[in-house]
Amino acid sequence: MFQIIWQHTRRWQRVCLFAAPLVMLMEVFCDLQQPTLMSKIVDTGLAGSGHPQFILQTGGVMLLIALVGACSGSGCNALASYASLKMGQRLRNHLLSLALATRNGHDLSTPTLITRITNDVIQMQNLVMTLTRSLVRAPFLLLGGIVMAFLISPRIAWILAIVVPVLLLFMGLVIRHSVPLFTKMQQAIDRINRVMRETLLGIKTVKSFTLENQQQQLFDQINQQVQTSSVAAQASVIILAPVVTLALNLSIVAALWFGGGLHASHLITTGQIMAFVNYMIQITTAMINTVNTVSSLSRAQTATARIQAVLDLPQDAEPTATVALPTDTTLRFEHVNFAYPGGENVLTDIDFELPAGAKLGIIGTTGSGKTTLVDLLTRLYDPTSGRITIGGVPINQLSLAQLRQQVAVALQNSVLFSGTIASNLRYGKETATDAELVVAAQAAAAADFIAARPGGYQAQVTQRGNNFSGGQKQRLNIARALVAQAAILVLDDTTSAVDLATDAHIQQALRQVRQGKTTIMIAQRIAALQDSDLILVLDHGHIVARGQHATLLQESAFYREVAVAQLGKEVLTDA
């Protein structure tokens, strides 16, 4: 916990971490001065016939000290806020960058990552706030009180020697008991967040299928769990304050009782008993505050552990550009096999070569592994065996940055981000000029509808591109990949929602754009594939046929059937 905090603070924030409690002590100190000064006024100012001068002077000092105290208090708060917020800021940045850097296939799912970076970080922030403001104050008051009590009268202070350790032990036990309860609560909260999030994201489905009642039931059920587990977790710590208060109050009574006995035997004075009781009261307050701090510590424990898990995500060591980027873009898959973690082979013995500048078409049944094949090329995953080379260089010797600079992908599901059309297209290349955007948009047959939007390229894109039609999103997706102007272009079934006329237009334009680029095109439509230099027919992860359009019409039953269905019987006679 302290390690996380320490690692996510820098020089000044660390200074604040320590300065805040010190300044807080200053405030306490100022507060404690007032009674002393007051007693001076009474003892000296009122002595004899009185010294009004002295009274006013001391009063002035009291005012001054009040002012200093207020400044220290606000100062402490400012310092503590600074440290905690800055820590939160760094931690959030760090977590998000880690989450973005990790490869796929780790076991933290997107929703829990989201809760961790949002809610748990806030918890840590609050923790730092508590720590810097009260962790020093309360224990100091506690310790001071105990020491003073012993100095005053060891004869009754033995009560403390029994009570305080017992209470500390009790606190420890309670907190140990509470940690798993808080974890359980957090898990329930995670679950409810997931339901809420899914309902939000899938609201159209929920409405269309009238799933409101079902979702409501699910929600209510988990909501109930959240309630039960929160109550259980909090109930486990609310026992602390009453027990501590009771123990200390009883100690006071004991002190009075034994003190009374000792007084009768003239072993103690009334003043000593009074002072002792006063210190006991101070100890009680300090102990309760410590309890509160400690219980917030235990609550933060859960958040800390969850954040730690993100910090511990495996970060594979990436090669840092050991070889220069090959200019040749000949692609080779050499006996590549792949299985998702814990699953069966999704790709088996994929082996082909694609000369630089050529076009590879991939067609295949649903779920046959087309997307996965491309994911291997961009190293979203690594093959289980076999290797992939670009221009003779195995891709795992290139840095990810090099590789992805070389390969531009239009993914199968077109993810857009909120912002403007231009900002989305510039994902491909940050430095793209407006003219370049227009060229790419034209090739993707997106220029017209962009121009028709109010604002054109500056038109707003809302979350996930919800304000565009399916086909419009796909075309922006293609344009984004084209903007990148990478040497290898990959299009994963990116025109499935585009009407045929527009698709034909896109294919035509692509033929221009991809001049000199190695292209991989996954498609269901034969029309988009037939000019490929090589077409692979995939089925259940195997290449079941390969060749050019004409060859495949002869050799692959699957290809032939699809072609006939789409283009009519004439396709056979034409070829």
């Binding site: 009185g50 009063g59 009291m62 009040a66 207020a70 208090g73 708060n77 800055k86 959030r92 998000l96 973005l100 997107t110 989201i114 949002t118 809610n119 967040n193 809420m196 939000l200 409405k207 929600f219 309630q227 909090q234 109930a235 009453p242 208060t245 009771l246 109050n249 009883l250 009374g260 006995g261 007084h263 009781v277 699953g343 779920g367 992805r404 993914l411 993810v415 981000f417 909120s418 912002g419 994902y427 000029t433 407006d434 003219a435 809302t462 979350q463 304000n467 039609s469 399916g470 419009q472 079934d493 499935s496 045929l500 006329a501 294919q507 269901q524 988009a528 037939q530 699809v562 269905a565």
Partner: protein
Amino acid sequence: MPNVAMKRPPRGQHYTEEQLKVQHLKPTLRQLSGYLLQKRWPLAAVFGFTVVTTVVSIIGTRLNGLIIDRYIRTDRLKLLAMVCLLMVGMYVVASGFNWLQSHFMVNIAQETSTRIRQDVFTRMQRLPLSYFDQHPSGDLMSRLTNDVDNINTALMETFIQLFTGVISVVGMLIAMLVLSPALTLVVLLASTGTYFLSRQIAKFTQTAFRQQQAELGQLNSEIEETLSGKKTIQLFEQADQVLTDFRATNQRYVHHAYQAQVFSGALGPLNNMLNNLAYALITVLGALAILHGYQGITVGIMFAFLIYMRDFTGPIRNMLDLINTLQVSIVSAERVFAVINAPAEQDAPHVVMPTLTGTIALQHVTFGYQPEHPILHDISLTAKPGEMVAIVGPTGAGKTTTINLLTKLYPLTAGTILIDGHPIDQLDRYALRRQIAIVQQEPFLFSGTIQANIRLGRLDASEADIVAAAKAANAHDFIMQLPAGYQTQLSDRQQSLSQGQRQLISIARAFLAQTPILILDEATSAIDTKTEMVIQQAMDQLMQQKTSFVIAHRLSTIQKADQIIVIDQGRIVERGTHAHLLAQKGLYWRLYRSQFQGKDV
């Protein structure tokens, strides 16, 4: 004009002063107390417990003094023992009550926030789709989580302390008045000063808090969006850029949060200062009064008075500290209630809806997502029971939009839609939607098993029905190859199924549903042609008894439609059967021809 690349515009909205003002303080407080009043008996109990514990602590403090004066000094040990026993009893009871009080309060706070969460969720599900177009889900999530949490914390902390505070304040005020009305006046003046100071700061901090929570919503939206689009970001090596944007938002949040916290945190020390000033004033004035023999004030009176004053202003200080907590919670409550109070989807007064035969008529329908930008213009069409209507057109023509209107997802701008002769806005939307099965262009799967996902088509379907539907959708085979078959868990945005497989699941839902109306919005776009042909046969059979609307780009699938509607730029440009439209040589003909275009190159 080859521009230098522009920086991405900041994603954050910016808020005007107007938006940030405390607009709804009173209604918000009223609504919040509405929730608490539902718990009035437990709250009353808490109040009772608090009275006991506070009184015990006041009496206890007095007794300590009394014991010393009356029993210890005089060594009356028997009586001392009795009083000690009495105190033990008192303290045990008080601690018991103290525990009960926390216990009740935990329950009240949790139950209240459970209720609030539930209300938000219930309302959220009833909000019109256009609401979700305008509010990013990250921000909504932030309201549902952070803001509800803030309310919860405030409830927990505030109420007990307020009760305790009020009781001590009243007790001490009486004690002070008895001792010296003049000095009490000084204390009261100081307290009033404190009150006004707090009010001023409160106004200021509330604005800052609102901004803080709004920025937090924005921050969460970005986290949400970034992590959901991780694959794209990684492939385009955009992590740095995205993180730069994020850092900026993060910085803005921290900036506003810092303002909010510094000012609200200064509240406590400032109040403390005023109290100390009062302390000093009373000491000085008291001392001077003693010197001048004014109003019979003695050292003893002054001494006792100062102790009482500590007990009087202490709770006041505490209560003012709470203003802090309250501020966050009121801003949060406002954000939460904004969702709860948002107008729900318009619904008709419940008309009993018979099972539909499926006659659908659109009459002069005009619609725009923003009414000032119409997307559909004057759409009229009629579908008779059992008919298959195909909607064709270039992308972005408004096909999906037309479908959205049929299921009442958006309200019409003009025109009417009649279903079995009933205007759609007079039908209960649940009843209506329950009679329409739809396969969406972008299927959404929920986390849960595959079986549960298919079952969404018809919630009371048996396992056999589900398997049959999956078979008809040609999804059975791949499902059986998954490690746990139908019980395979889908999670995390369903990344573990291929795009086409997700579509198959969504089609299986439609096969399961037994509705008179079926809508397929590019249901098979990501599915290979061979599989599609297999499904098509089953689909044809399914559609025989239903009124169906089919949107498809592969025209082979819609050739046998009873009528084909061609939409372009939101208008119907052609209609008729396949043969008829081909003969017209219009847009449909061109679309149809382009299918073969690849071939003649």
